[in-house]
């Protein structure tokens, strides 16, 4: 038996919060050889433009918010898919006073929790110049007082939701290392349980180097995951969204993170009822994509009501696509497809409704290993129905081979004896007594319960109990009413005797596997119950 933990909601979303430093230090000019003079904030805006453009093309379903901060913070653009609005906001930023990172991070917590709660993973892109403020509210001050926090003014990191914190520094490494800025920023990542990374500009501060820094962020965090979904000869190019995270099976013996294949091969289908609701590492949308002849992506296959359908979308929607066939079939048949993600790593494809009208093809990843779902047994042992001697689902589809029975039953399924609480012991003794009073009708149950108690008492070395119960049975014998069946007295005496022998602990009578059997009497022939 398992306890299942889950939640409901928009799982395939991984929103981004861009947190932009608009303190005065961001207006420091950058010495460029060319004619135009840039400030650091211009470089930052340039990088973010690049990020937004990339997302508008590849992550159009994703939500992004823009926060600016100095000593105060402000939500410039709430979560949106409209990258034009975000872009516009970038060009409308004013300059303010000093940097106060902690309050901005508190702001991010509030914004994300309000919009998405605590379960949706969120990427936070912090853009700053590495000047961490002065005095109260500066990052140095925040970190220095980190250990003196109470629950009410808890430091915002780690974020109270699954997160990655990417710090984009409008400064190069040498500049950051000349102060303790880099150390402080690294502390931030550590405080976020190591979830995140610091990016610095390689070489002189210029547009080209900012581009290459944001390029690295995009490669790391915003590269769409493209794969080929295969089922025999049927194939479809798909985007898996959000991109599956590498998974570490065992940090010690297998520390290399596992990444899923880009060939996702369907190996079979199984009823939803059989797979039940399995635990999964993550869930993803599987979106068909159209590739043109050169192999470039021309758009995702799903249409979004909020956006103009571009021609690529239209084409993608009209070419028969295996994804559509698969999705519809899974939905109609109430089945899931088992998909191979890598060596000894599987997942499942299924249809999930996100509203009454719309449903999506989804993929969930199981934990890597030969047997991720114990009730299905080893994945490699699942095979086609036609291979079975007789249909495991029955001719009328009225049974199922799943769940598989575990080899060793769990304690709750095997009638274990626990006498830690007196009530446990008392219940077991009373069961014997109750059946003793209904001899000979209950002969079988009487001896079954008696033997169970005997076994446990022997294992626990609780021989006094055997003596005590023997005494009790002897007393019961003397209390038998005149109307009692004569066999009752014989059985009680016999049972009491056997218990007493066992209580001596001599191996002959105290064998664990030995069972007390009913006494064969002249009367027992008339009894309907036999062992």
């Amino acid at each position: 038996l398992c306890i299942l933990i889950g939640n409901i909601g928009l799982i395939f979303i991984m929103p981004t919060v861009v947190v932009m430093d608009v303190s005065l230090s961001m207006t420091r000019p950058v010495s460029v050889e060319g004619s135009e003079e840039y400030q650091r904030k211009h470089l930052a805006a340039h990088g973010l433009t690049m990020l937004f453009e990339h997302m508008a093309t590849n992550y159009k379903l994703e939500f992004t918010a823009l926060v600016v901060f100095s000593s105060l913070w402000e939500l410039m653009v709430p979560f949106t898919r409209d990258y034009n609005t975000l872009q516009e906001a970038l060009s409308n930023m004013d300059d303010y006073d000093k940097t106060c990172l902690e309050s901005a991070l508190v702001g991010v917590c509030n914004i994300v929790q309000q919009e998405w709660g605590g379960a949706i993973p969120c990427q936070v892109v912090l853009v700053t110049d590495g000047c961490l403020g002065i005095g109260r509210g500066s990052l140095r001050h925040s970190l220095a007082t980190h250990n003196q926090r109470s629950e009410s003014n808890r430091f915002p990191l780690p974020f109270p939701f699954p997160s990655k914190l990417y710090i984009m520094c409008m400064a190069n490494l040498e500049e950051l290392q000349s102060t303790d800025s880099l150390d402080c920023l690294e502390r931030l990542i550590d405080l976020n349980n190591g979830e995140g990374q610091i990016f610095t500009i390689d070489g002189p501060l210029c547009l080209k180097n900012v581009q290459s820094m944001f390029g690295k962020l995009i490669d790391l965090a915003y590269t769409p995951f493209h794969a080929v979904l295969k089922c025999g000869h049927l194939t479809a190019d798909v985007q898996v969204f959000p991109r599956p995270e590498p998974f570490v099976v065992d940090e010690e013996i297998d520390p290399i993170p596992k990444v899923i294949n880009t060939d996702l091969e369907i190996v079979g289908f199984i009823d939803i009822a059989d797979i039940s609701s399995p635990p999964v590492l993550s869930r993803h949308l599987v979106l068909p994509i159209a590739l043109n002849k050169e192999g470039d992506e021309v758009g995702t296959g799903i249409t979004d009501d909020n956006e103009d359908e571009n021609s690529a979308n239209q084409i993608a929607g009209k070419i028969p696509n295996f994804c559509v066939l698969l999705h519809g079939s899974l939905k109609v048949e109430g089945m899931v497809a088992i998909v191979q993600l890598g060596p000894e790593w599987h997942g499942m494809l299924y249809s999930q409704a996100d509203s009454k009208k719309k449903s999506n093809l989804m993929m969930s990843l199981f934990e890597p290993g030969p047997e991720p779902l114990p009730w299905l047994g080893k994945m490699g042992q699942l095979g086609p129905i036609s291979d079975a001697k007789e249909n495991p689902y029955g001719e009328d589809d009225n049974k199922s081979p799943f769940p598989l029975q575990p080899k060793n039953k769990r304690s709750y399924a095997q009638n274990v004896t626990v006498w830690i609480k007196p009530s446990g012991l008392q219940t077991d003794v009373q069961k014997i007594l109750r059946n003793a009073r209904k001899l000979p009708e209950k002969t079988q149950t009487f001896y079954k319960e008696l033997n169970r108690l005997r076994k446990a008492a022997l294992a626990f070395g609780f021989l006094d109990l055997l003596k005590g119960v023997a005494d009790m049975l002897e007393r019961e014998c003397t209390l038998l009413p005149d109307t009692a069946h004569p066999d009752a007295a014989f059985q009680l005496t016999h049972a009491a005797q056997q218990l007493k022998l066992a209580s001596t602990g001599t191996s002959e009578y105290a064998g664990y596997d030995h069972n007390i059997t009913p006494l064969q009497t002249d009367f027992s022939g008339s009894s309907t119950e036999r062992m």
């Binding site: 709660g117 091969e265 028969p320 109609v332 304690s411 005590g468 664990y512």
Partner: protein, 639 residues
Amino acid sequence: MKIFSESHKTVFVVDHCPYMAESCRQHVEFDMLVKNRTQGIIPLAPISKSLWTCSVESSMEYCRIMYDIFPFRKLVNFIVSDSGAHVLNSWTQEDQNLQELMAALAAVGPPNPRADPECCSILHGLVAAVETLCKITEYQHEARTLLMENAERVGNRGRIICITNAKSDSHVRMLEDCVQETIHEHNKLAANSDHLMQIQKCELVLIHTYPVGEDSLVSDRSKKELSPVLTSEVHSVRAGRHLATKLNILVQQHFDLASTTITNIPMKPTFSVFDQEEQHANTSANYDVELLHHKDAHVDFLKSGDTHLGGSSREGSFKETITLKWCTPRTNNIELHYCTGAYRISPVDVNSRPSSCLTNFLLNDPRYKIDGSLEIPLERAKDQLEKHTRYWPMIISQTTIFNMQAVVPLASVIVKESLTEEDVLNCQKTIYNLVDMERKNDPLPISTVGTRGKGPKRDEQYRIMWNELETLVRAHINNSEKHQRVLECLMACRSKPPEEEERKKRGRKREDKEDKSEKAVKDYEQEKTWQDLERLKSILERGKEELAEAEIIKDSPDSPEPPNKKPLVEMDETPPVEKSKGPVSLLTLWSNRINTANSRKHQEFAGRLNSVNNRAELYQHLKEENGMETTENGKASRQ
């Protein structure tokens, strides 16, 4: 996560020396007075458990919870110590269950109070514990073999839980020193052995237990590092239920467990475990059941701030319990729930009636096991998918044969790896049947959806059908010689279309047109794609007023079924448009609807308006103009 953490190997060392036979001095009433028939009878004197019994049942409870939640990879080695060490089981998975341990303990029996205390010591057990920790487990062996040159990554850590009755703090220190010394020695031995592993980390948990009412001679001490390899902690605990509580706390700490209490579980007298004779038999009260499980199960609750913390649990275990309210499952509702984790559970109070009612309810369904074959079944499954998808049209209007009930007997067997004689016979029958249909000029379910006009002529329909059937059969001819025979039969039967003679009479003009349809057949795929584009376009056009976009997805279930299933669409072998008798098929309904909708959007084709019985003679003007062939430009093939 680390598989080979300290929790991988647990060694219990339980003292079996004479003093452990002493009573724990906590009485258990076992002769409970039963109402209305006990007048004048004095109940039997209460009994009490020995220190040994308390130690054994508490450690068994520890193991029970551990095995329930971690049936694999968490192993116990049980040792009892008196004049020597008795190792009751091994690290192998088969030895890891309560029955084995109980049987072994019964064989050992209670300590002998008359044995010579001088010969007996817990030290024998502790030495054996270190020795056993050096022994490699199946899991360690497997991991090492798998990792090959990285075998050193496989850790060897473990925990020794020693339950004894110590004399004093210095006695405890002596035991600790002994363990440290033994580890040192055995690690040296292990360094030169293939079968042994050096102990990297050992947690020693010393539990001093003594009768209730006595003063403890040993003081508690929290975990302390004695060496880089060894840590030790000392617990001084009264025997009886205090010892059981302590081990319950420890199992939760050692295996990162947490507690959840399921509240308000309805318990009706009809529940099978409910014994009618017991109290409350006729009441249907609600009960609470406390469960233990890995504490990760609580992470999401704690994160969401939605803590259903129900205060500390009743039995005084060390952590707070989270309460969840029982929801009776709606049994016929099969759907996937999003589940981030499934955690094995173990009831805290396993044989209390509420617990057993709950677990029995949850366990109550029939199970049996499936036979595995010698080959890897999953590979066979992939193989089967490969065969089934060799020819698989994606859209219903792309296919004729998968819309025909008459083809099913062939299509369902041709994908098999090998055919029986009976299969071949059935395939041949299917082909003959189709020939018969063609001779009778039976209509075929060629889709007219999205096409202008009423689709290809009857003889063209058959040509398309035969071509498609040939494609299907050809995709499988390499499976076996019998598949080859099916193709031979097919080729023989379709080689002489009956109307061929007649066609020759019709002369050259007609032949030109045939070339076009020949091309159409060749360009089958492209052509159908085009048709489909047309069709989808019409759906999309109407989408805003009539159909939600979901219809596009809904459409796909109409796609052909795997051939071994019944097709969803019954064709009745009647063409959609000319349909007049019998039950109306879904496709007919659909096509009629589309046709009606389409007809509203365009001017009716003149040919159809002038048709007689839905037949219009084409190229009537040619009759008059005699021999002008200028108008053909490919449109014909689209009809």
